[in-house]
Subunit: 400 residues, 2 copies
């Protein structure tokens, strides 16, 4: 079976997280992703978050870069030069999708903005990714994942009750935005397939964060209510949080009255299966009491004991795992969530496509590229002659 997007070419000017992760997913589905990188070091993600010493030990780019850049070919172009931009234009002529995350106005300044490219190639799908969006009072402010966790109100409801705000430990706004880009581009490809028309797609860290906060905003707009930080608990039901055990923490969720009854009976009927805790609304009202009673019970048990007792009666339970326990858990591999790819002396593992198409599954075709690894190959494919390449090189298209 052919890959879904095997006939699609993406020219990808994006860097760091959301854009690269999105084009990686398009690459999983078979699209040819040409990653345009600055000759001076390339995508900053190549060395983000690692010291020089670590980077040398790794003999290759940072773990984050590797996680987000499989299935791509790398071409270095200095877009500040006319010759670099001329190469970009010629590649776009042979492409279906352009993705970028420069600040508003940058691509336009280079003659690579939507209006220019749409005129040149009406079927092109052009995707902008910004911090706060292309218009509005904040459009020219740069931001990252953390800034949007703060701006969106997510941080105001993350952390201990009465404590300082905390961040969700991963770049969730960025990686969520990746799937918003994927959704927008796929919708536009579908529309183009039916009508022949390309169009502009955009999203932003702000739209991504707002989507993650949508039900809180709706509640605020409807009732004026704003939730607060509650550790691992939330306002929806009780119990619905992590409880300390002898050897760690276990999350226990029993929202319905039937599930609570099973939970209480399995853990300690005397302490928990009490008349006053039997309805969801009463458990919400008596939150503190229920949590104190649960905490006393779980503190006498190990993670494994809590898990065994509750999963036996189909109460939602999960251990607070480390990154390593989660990454290595056989369930992730069992459902195709891990790509294994030959590299060096063995296989390396990568987190797979976040959805599975059974007839045309996403897969890993290529290792994350070295900077400029495919310059010659891509230019030759695009019809540049040796003489032209030499000329472009002399004019600085590929850096010094």
């Amino acid at each position: 079976m052919a890959d879904i997007l095997e006939h699609i070419r993406v020219v990808d000017f994006s860097r760091i997280f959301a854009g690269p992760d999105a084009t990686q997913i398009l690459g999983d589905l078979g699209a040819d992703i040409i990653k345009i990188e600055d000759p001076e070091g390339g995508d900053e993600c190549r060395y983000l978050g690692v010291t020089r010493e670590e980077l040398e030990r790794l003999t290759g780019p940072s773990p984050s870069f590797r996680a987000l850049n499989r299935n791509k070919r790398s071409l270095t172009l200095d877009l500040s030069t006319e010759s670099g931009r001329a190469v970009a234009l010629r590649l776009i002529d042979g492409a279906d999708v352009v993705v970028n995350n420069f600040r508003p106005g940058t691509m336009e300044r280079w003659g690579l903005g939507y209006d220019d490219l749409h005129q040149r190639k009406p079927g092109l799908i052009y995707c902008d990714f910004h911090s706060y969006g292309p218009v509005g009072p904040l459009s020219h402010i740069g931001a990252n994942d953390l800034a949007l966790q703060a701006f969106s109100g997510l941080m105001s409801i993350t952390g201990e009750e009465g404590g300082a705000p905390a961040r969700a430990g991963s770049a969730i706004v960025d990686l969520h935005a990746s799937l918003a880009i994927v959704g927008g581009v796929l919708a536009a490809l579908y529309h183009r397939e039916r009508t022949g028309e390309g169009q502009r797609v955009d999203t932003s860290l702000m739209l991504s964060a707002a989507h993650l906060m949508s039900y809180f905003y709706k509640e605020y707009w409807l009732t004026g209510r704003m939730h607060r930080r509650m550790g691992t608990a939330n306002h929806l039901s009780v119990p619905n949080q992590a409880f300390p055990t002898k050897d760690g923490y276990a999350v226990i969720i029993a929202p319905s009255d039937e599930m609570w009854r099973r939970c209480a009976t399995a853990l300690d009927p005397e302490a928990l299966d009490r008349e006053e805790y039997r309805t969801a609304s009463e458990r919400l009202r008596l939150r503190k009491d229920v949590i104190a009673a649960m905490t006393e019970v779980t503190g006498k048990l190990t993670n494994a004991e809590v898990h065994a007792k509750l999963s036996a009666v189909k109460v939602n339970v999960a251990i607070v795992q480390t990154i390593g326990e989660a990454a290595d858990h056989p369930q992730l591999d069992a459902v195709g969530g891990v790509f294994h790819f030959p590299e060096g002396e063995g296989d390396q593992r990568y987190v797979g496509t976040p959805f599975r198409l059974h007839a045309t599954p996403g897969r890993m075709h290529r290792l994350p590229p070295e900077l400029g690894e495919h310059n010659r190959e891509i230019l030759a494919e695009a019809g540049f002659s040796e003489a032209e390449i030499a000329e472009l090189k002399a004019r600085g298209a590929f850096g010094d």
Copy 2:
């Protein structure tokens, strides 16, 4: 301009968060979403997280239900009855996409599993959404957002350093999974448009969470390193966290050396623009010192002062906003992130589609439905006669 999916019909058996949010987005793009609900109360999300008293005050479903169920019509069906299932089958005959989030085996038991429906209608796109996936050792365990925040390791890196694990304050794994469903369904629709073939799509809370953790898993697989909780900070760069101010918290991010220089100069050159802090790797090594120095400086300023000083020199800065400040911020409305819809005496607001298609934008067509609001309309459209409806009703298809 017609909506992209205006010719697409989705029969949606999903409940609570991820599935309904995904079909809402397909509805934003114009698809006709038929939401199948249990006659006994319908989607549990209708009353999730609100007390009976609050629900009466709201005169309608919960804020969460409203946030996730615009652009749908509601049909009540008792799928435990043969007649209810017969109605479902007839609706699916006229549909393009089926979405469900029952536990593995449930749809199959009802004769509504992929194999049955694919045989009946090869062009159908059939989307399963599970907790841990359709196969593997955990496939039959139920879970929710919180459980996957724990299972995935996200919770192990969220919260204060040395403190208890915390959860990201919103149901981010669920809402992220929504976009994975949207991506999978759109990819399958694109493939069907080109080949006529339908297929099975699936994703899960686990694949969603793994995607949000992908770069941490990659680092662990590559180096064995596992990160820890760091409040609002992270391991990527310094400064990159929230700092307390006179009247709240401000997030400040200056990853590059140039940006750090501007940050230090704008806030307090004497205290911050020091030789030993000038390179990113040194700031990572001297993390504690840099953070202490920054904290002392920001503590003497208000949020507004920090924001003004840093945004003037293009350093990434954001205030830790409340939910209300975020929801009402004019930037969200400016980029089309808010749908305004007439309801009662004025307009109500809803968080919009998380990506924008400029030629064919998502929009709000309908209010979230009342339970069974469209029974008669949907059945009539599907060609059921009055006599048939009465007969089905007598056989319990629509509940008692």
